[in-house]
């Protein structure tokens, strides 16, 4: 059926993008793969009836955060990444089994508890409902979120200021 096919298409793109993010040598290619993954995830959010979050996800992550990443990569002019040195080179042989174990644990927990639950058609993701919740029950986290952003802005500005030497 239509939604199941869509789910698998988006899931396939997301997983493919995820694998490419961790395997490309050139960081700009990694960033592009991550943008593709974020798009696929936005599609998944829409399948879960979370329309507002999906659009905000594209606007914030794909439209702003990844652009920031790309700017920094381009300014630092990093083309390729050197090979890992020393004992770290063999980390990959331990990391993949560990991660596989982690995945199987998570998959096991999932299948134990959720055999018969399906996505429900709901209006819980519409702008009106989220707006109601965000401005009535969760208005304090909302305001604190804006303060967090201002603090981050000030922090980033301060960190990138050019330090004048004493006597200049």
């Amino acid at each position: 059926m239509l939604v199941l096919t869509l789910f698998f298409i988006f899931a396939g793109i997301a997983v493919m993008g995820g694998i490419l993010v961790v395997s490309f040598r050139n960081p700009i290619y990694c960033a592009f793969a991550l943008v593709v993954t974020l798009f696929a995830l936005a599609g998944e959010y829409i399948l879960l009836m979370a329309h507002f979050i999906a659009i905000v996800h594209i606007a914030v992550y794909a439209g702003a955060i990844m652009v920031l990443f790309l700017f920094v990569v381009m300014l630092l002019n990093i083309r390729t990444e050197e090979r890992a040195s020393g004992g770290v080179r063999y980390m990959i042989y331990i990391a993949i089994p560990m991660t596989a174990v982690l995945f199987f644990e998570l998959a096991y927990l999932t299948f134990k508890g959720f055999e018969k639950a399906y996505v429900r058609d709901t209006d819980l993701g519409t702008v009106e409902r989220i707006g109601e919740a965000l401005f009535s029950q969760y208005v304090l986290p909302f305001e604190i979120a804006s303060i967090v952003l201002i603090v981050a802005m000030i922090g980033a500005l301060y960190l990138s200021k050019r330090r004048l030497a004493i006597g200049e």
Binding site: E81, F114, R120, G125, A152, S160
Partner: protein, 102 residues
């Protein structure tokens, strides 16, 4: 007209999370490690939204909103730190930035 089982979304979330963990452990470039962290955050977002739909509770989506805000703030400050380190050490290979002072 049954729809998609919720467990599929959780499995997808688990896969992306594990890929993110793999990226953080294997990669040596600080920016790519950062991107893998973003991948992990997104996997968790997917989990939250899946649960929000399953439990018919809007808190999941509000929390995703907050996660996005925090991720944005973190990326801003983190990249500023990386740029500052690059100006100092001319490298962002995490193997070379291991020591606080040499």
């Amino acid at each position: 007209m049954q729809g998609i089982p919720i467990s599929y979304f959780l499995i997808l979330s688990a896969v992306l999370f594990c890929l993110g963990v793999l990226g953080v452990i294997i990669r040596r470039n600080a920016i790519v490690i950062f991107m893998s962290i973003e991948l992990m955050l997104n996997a968790v977002n997917l989990s939250f939204i899946a649960f929000s739909n399953h439990l018919q509770n809007i808190e999941g989506q509000i929390f995703v909103f907050m996660v996005m805000v925090v991720a944005a703030a973190e990326v801003g400050v983190g990249l500023a730190i990386i740029v500052a380190i690059f100006k100092l050490r001319e490298t962002i290979n995490v193997d070379d930035i291991r020591l606080l002072k040499w």
